[in-house]
Symmetry: C2
Subunit: 168 residues, 2 copies
Amino acid sequence: MLYELTVTQFTKMFHNLLSILDKANTFAESKKVDPEVLLNSRLAADQFPLVRQIQIACDTAKLGASRLTAKEAPSHADTEKTMSEVKARIESVISYLETLSAKDFDAAAERHITQPRWEGQYLTGHEYVVNHVIPNFYFHITTAYSILRHNGVEVGKKDYLGKMPYKK
Amino acid sequence: MLYELTVTQFTKMFHNLLSILDKANTFAESKKVDPEVLLNSRLAADQFPLVRQIQIACDTAKLGASRLTAKEAPSHADTEKTMSEVKARIESVISYLETLSAKDFDAAAERHITQPRWEGQYLTGHEYVVNHVIPNFYFHITTAYSILRHNGVEVGKKDYLGKMPYKK
C-alpha cells in the first residue's frame, strides 16, 4: 500500500505534471514570452515560484521513497532554470522511483523516519506517509498547477488527476 | 489503512483548515473588508472561488467515506455564504467522519465504487482512494490555502500540515 501511495501514484502525478508543463510551454510560445517567466511566477511575494514548487515536489517524492526503503536517491543541485532542465529533473526522479519495487517497502511501515530538522524525533514510515509525504507532495503539485492556471494556461482537473483505472 | 488515509487524516486537515479560516477572518477584520470578499476570491476567472473549493473538499471527504463504507452521509445544499456558514459546513463533515470507525472500512478496499459521471464503470475502493479521493481532497484544500495566501493572509506550510505525531 505505501508503495502504491508513493511510487506508483507519484509517478503518475509526475507524468501528469510533464503534460501540464508541455501546455505551459505551448502557452508561452503563443504569448511570445519566455517559459522562464512562468517558472519564476508565484502566487504570493513570499511563496516559492513554480520552479521551486516543482523541485520540492521532486524532493518530497524522492526523499520520501528513499527514507522508506533505505535505497539511496540521486542528488540534485536545484540549479534548474529552463523548462527542459525542469522536465529533466522530474524525469530523473521518475527513473529513480522506477528502480524501486513493492518488495523494497516490506519494512517501510514500521521503519523509524527522521530528518535533521526534527531534532532527534521520528515518525513511523506509516505516519510519515499519511501525515507528511502525501499532504506535502500534493501541496506542491497543486501549487505548481495553480501558478500556471493563474497565469492563464488552460489546464483543468483532468490534467492534474490523469487517467483513472476504470473497469467495466 | 484506508480509514486512516481518509477519516483520520482528512479530519486533521479540516481542523487545520478551520484554523486557517480563523486567520483569514482576523486578516479581513484588520483590512476592514468583509470576509465574504475572501470567500469569493479565485486564482483564475474560470476557477472556483474559495467557498466552492471548501465545499468540494467537504464533499470529496464526505462522499468518499460514504462510498467506501456504504454509510449514508449528511446532505448539504451548497448555500453557504458567510465564514460562519462555511465553518459550520466543515464541522458537519467532521461530525459525520467521527461516526465512522476503522471497522466500517473492513470491506472498503475491494468494494466497487462508481459515480453517475463514470457511465457504469467502477474503481475498487483501494484504487478510488489512491487515484481519486486523495489527490482531489488535497487539491481543493491546497487551492483554498493558496487563494488566502494570494490575498495576503499570513499562512504557512505548518498551518496546512498541522501537528506531526513525533515520537522520541
